[in-house]
Amino acid sequence: MSIMTEAEAKTILAKVIKLSTADECTAQLTGSIEGNIRFALNNVSTSGVVSDTDLAVTVAFGRRVGTATINEFSDAALARVVKRAEELAKLAPENPEFVPAVEATTYKPSDTFSQATAAITPDQRAEVARASIEPCRAQKLVAAGFLQDQQSFVAFANSKGAFGYQRATSMDYTCTVRTADGKGSGWVARNLQDSAAFKASSDIEIAMRKASASAEAQALEPGKYTVILEPNAASGLISFMFNYFDARQADEGRSFLSKKGGGNKLGEQVFDPRVTFMADPWDKELPVYPWDEQGRPRERMPLVENGKIANLLYSPYWAQKSGKKVTGRPGNVIMSGGTKSTADMIRETERGILVTRTWYIRMVDPQTVLLTGLTRDGTFYIENGQLKHPIKNFRFNESPVIMLNNIDELGRPVRVSEGGRMSMMIPAMRLRDFTFTSLSDAV
């Protein structure tokens, strides 16, 4: 029952809407089956499957809102959950920022489901672990990795006639390979919707090469360097920045997108003109649901276009208050880039540092989006188009806003593994004057 068909979901949702006596009622069914396998020290450590299905009912009497949920779907259970939501709404304080439920609309479906991912079995997961571990064991390397796959569905309806149903899949693979003496470490990450495109046996080679090549790292003085951030290294910084794209925060004067004297930087040149970030639920590589968490239809829209702030993120309440059109909150961010691979970009670099992965990134100063974090699992010095030698890891103190004004070149965007923060496609990027502030002894 974890994954319902559209007809099954529609029947339940229609019953719920009919049962409610509130001014408005929204019901949402969600279900998922998640499988995972984790391995370390060349052995499987944990592995499991978790399934869950929930019905959430939100009702409003005027500006009083109540939400209740249940995971049973008998008629009696549906009556219970509606009654409970209505009781909660009557007890709740009035919400002055209440916005009515979304009007009936047609959602253009996005292609978020892949059969191969939904069909992954425990044996296939074990095979991914084996394909990662065996070549490492053969070369006296040590693998630690994680594969997580998920199939899910969302169905919702409201008393205004809105209805949506869609299924989705995703898989995320990461593997760290270390040399037996702990002096070298490499990493690979793969984020896909369709697991048919995934081959652990070839991905693992990337991590193995980096592990072997990164042993005996030399120390470079901290300072400003030209860097090539691989997509997964760059995304860690960029995803933080989008936490500050909220229009209300900017209008209130507490964001890097606030303007001196009041207002926000909408329309202003904030980044290098090559920087464009699009939200697009129908993107072929990275489709997401065509509605947001509140059922509002998403749109294809630029957030940054040619370095200018093209759109800020408005909550429905703030959009209404600011006289803006209410749109769905984006579910993905796709950064434009070029066609070059990371390897191409290395070949064209005279001197610089290749960063495989960034780690433990935290906000230091929201005023400037200054972030700190470290490099890990494959940091190399580049000279005359070649990886000259491995270098010790650095701590950086850098702002993505400054970084995206120091672009030398952008590579080909790829899906990045972001641990659920935000679905993103990010290119590798060569940047000038990236600020490393100290050395780390960590491998």
């Binding site: 978790v50 209740a68 425990p122 630690a144 606030s258 929201p366 702002s399």
Partner: protein, 543 residues
Amino acid sequence: MDRRQFLAACGIGAGGVLLPGFGRAIAAEQLVETLDVAVKKRLADAAMTAATAAGASYCDVRVGRYLRQFIQTREANVQGVTNTESSGVGVRVIAGGAWGFAATNSFSAEAVADTARLAVAIAKANAKNQTAPVQLAPTKGVGEVKWATPLRRNGMEVSLQEKVDLLMRVNGAALKAGANFVNSSLFLINEQKYFASTDGSYIDQDVHRIWSPFTVTAVDKTTGKFRSRDGLSAPMGMGYEYLDPQAKDKTLSPNGIISYGNSYDMVEDAQAAAVQAREKLTAKSVKPGRYDLVLDPNHLGLTIHESVGHPLELDRVLGYEANYAGTSFATLDKRQAHFQYGSEMVNIMADKLQPGSLGAVGFDDEGIKTKRWPLIQDGKLVDYQATRDQAHILGKTESDGCSYADSWSTVQFQRMPNVSLQPGKKPLSLNEMIAGVEDGIYILGRGSFSIDQQRYNAQFGGTLFYEIKNGKITQPLEDVAYQMRTPEFWNACSAICDERDYRLFGSFFDGKGQPSQVSAVSHGSSTTRFNGINVINTARSLG
């Protein structure tokens, strides 16, 4: 999920239909209900019988009901009141020498037995490539037992109105004292956990936690500058009594900053925060260099957490967390060599017993009775934190009781106990400590924190910074962060206030593992001095 993601998830709020990933929303009155122990035992027995029949050599079952209440406000508005419940059954087995895990939200004996069989099938699939079979430290079943967080007032029984009124008073106080914005929240957590294992344990526990954070922001529109000041509370393993302030639990610094111990005056702190946030707008930007740092317990707790708590997690040391959280510089050979982790006055204890702490439980999620043990003695590394399948690696015959899962649906693994710096043995007050500092910075509250994957290189910010010159606090500072290398930092520890100054810091959402799980843990300390620490200036210009 880390704290930021958690807060973002909660931000969906009551107006939305998607709930935080923590389960189903329920009515407030259901937060005080409990599941019948007999029902839980029947489910556990069904799982263990099915798992054993399917070939498991060991099985444990966790029947969990995880309740959370979140109240979020900003200024005069209640943004969301959410009551959630997540209930289900997680079954972990060993078959063929490998672990397998499966979980279901169904409470039918049949579904739970099916889940147990799935866990066995997963274990058998994993066993094919397993080179080293799982080795469990022996433990005796404890039969049917109970444990509960000692509470004076169950937060789940306090009316919504009383809680909302408190947060509105907090916000009102901050705004009146000059804040432009204030966000305040209240998080209550109740884990009703039933653990059973084929060793013969049936353990019913009722665990409560509370956290009341706020952020006050001051904006100067003419300069475009904004600064925030977070509350100085600590999340605690307590009931609502934590929010009933007692004069005895307050500590006053020489410059009038009030810190809190086992109870918290949230309104008073919000008022101070507004004044201090505005003060931060014009505070002196720190001159980079080496300073003697005087670190308040509500700041030092996070430094202990990152630079002692995590590196001494045995799974990290061994390499089990290499792909995500990382490994550790504190390798096993360092324990044998009595590695000088810190100066001789540094004594750090692991603990799962301390009343009021977030880590206190009667038994861990493997059914092991909890205890207290030393990690660092007189500055020397002496021990780690282990679970049942790790104890043999340290030559131990019992687990340290450090197993935890954040949900019925997640698999339990090694998590940090409370890790606390013991108070100084010689009498020393905060005032006396500051009086002895020539050129230093006094830091309170948590700020940004980042540390490498082997826990060597760390950088910490804070909430409040004050310049110390010739034994006196002179003025507030801004743009302060200190960078450190763990062993050098702890060896630079030169003074620790005595037990009168001892307070708990807490981390409510400590992330670890894949899939990432959160846990809550406390770190106690007294105000502590570290000599000659590298301080950087974090101010930048966006042009």
